[in-house]
């Protein structure tokens, strides 16, 4: 009987403990995911811009070729 009540007493705290660990996990993993996603979108953006500028330059030269 004593053991059961002891267990319940700790069980009364387990809500706090699990919430605390859960919150830590959510925040730290969430930050990691947000940072990774930001990295991915930004590198995609840079890649798009990079793909954009040489093509434009090539177009320009094409135009020049066409006009000359």
């Amino acid at each position: 009987m004593q053991m059961i009540s002891d267990f319940l007493a700790i069980g009364g705290y387990s809500g706090f403990i699990w919430t605390a660990y859960g919150a830590v996990a959510v925040v730290l993993v969430g930050l990691l995911i947000v940072s990774l996603r930001k990295l991915r979108t930004t590198s995609a953006e840079v890649a798009a811009l990079e793909a954009n500028s040489p093509r434009r330059r090539r177009n320009n030269t094409d135009n020049k070729d066409a006009t000359s």
């Binding site: 007493a9 700790i10 009364g12 705290y13 387990s14 706090f16 403990i17 919430t19 605390a20 660990y21 919150a23 830590v24 925040v27 730290l28 930050l31 990691l32 940072s35 990774l36 930001k38 990295l39 930004t42 590198s43 953006e45 840079v46 811009l49 990079e50 954009n52 500028s53 434009r56």
Partner: protein, 244 residues
């Protein structure tokens, strides 16, 4: 201006070499720390099982201070020596520090409720950590408040240095004032006041969190650098379009 942030290639190489040395040990140490903290450490003779919250609360408090200190140092380096990476590192560190501070406050609150019977008390330690949280938010807000990003980062850097006054206040608040928050029991001149069965998981978690911070810092710095590059490139293309 963009050219001044030269050598992203060198930074990327360095980051790529360092990253696995931070990321993997961080994951392993946090996993080991969690195992010890949740299953293989003794309950406290006074606080029972709630002491398990300590293994995330105390390391995040350390990180909150450590990240702020690193941020203030990089800000100072950025302002004094104008090192191109310094502001970037402060800027990348701020959200991580804010998250650690938030976690510290939240877990502290969840520890305080069963132990002190209240979610929050207005004592010196808690209040000064709350102010630290606001300083992080202020830093980030100031950083983004200007049309010229260079202006924002310099302004925020000055704020970070001013706010550093708060760090020793937090550290010593439990010694200077009679607070409900317990005084430091790990870092003491007379040696730590807690048993090694608790100290070891605490340190494992602390080192794990530090490595997590380092890995995330590199990742975020890389992102910021790419974002800067993207901004520069789109500006250049706009100019080109305008001149055509």
């Amino acid at each position: 201006m963009i050219q001044q942030y030269a050598n992203p290639a060198r930074f990327n190489r360095l980051a790529a070499t360092l990253m696995p040395w931070f990321a993997w040990p961080a994951g392993v140490l946090i996993a080991v720390g969690l195992y010890f903290a949740l299953f293989n450490s003794p309950p406290d003779y006074q606080q029972g099982d709630t002491v398990r919250i300590m293994y995330v609360h105390v390391p995040s408090a350390w990180m909150a201070l450590f990240v702020y200190t690193s941020m203030a140092i990089s800000s100072a380096v950025g302002l004094i020596w104008k090192h191109p990476l310094a502001h970037l590192s402060a800027q990348a560190a701020a959200p991580i520090g804010a998250c650690f501070t938030f976690v510290c406050l939240l877990t502290g609150s969840l520890w305080g409720k069963p132990m002190w019977g209240t979610w929050w008390v207005w004592d010196a330690r808690l209040t000064s950590v709350l102010i630290l949280f606001f300083l992080y938010l202020g830093f980030m807000a100031l950083q983004n408040a200007f049309d010229d990003p260079a202006r924002g980062e310099r302004s925020a850097a000055i704020l970070a240095i001013i706010g550093f006054i708060n760090v020793p206040i937090i550290k010593f608040s439990v010694d200077w004032w009679n607070t409900l928050h317990q005084p430091a029991s790990v870092v003491k001149i007379s040696g730590p006041a807690i048993h090694s069965s608790m100290l070891i998981p605490l340190f494992v978690m602390g080192v794990g969190f530090t490595l997590y911070f380092c890995a995330l810092l590199l990742l975020r710095m890389k992102t910021l650098m790419l974002a800067r590059r993207a901004r520069g490139m789109s500006m250049a293309q706009l100019h080109q379009q305008a001149s055509e």
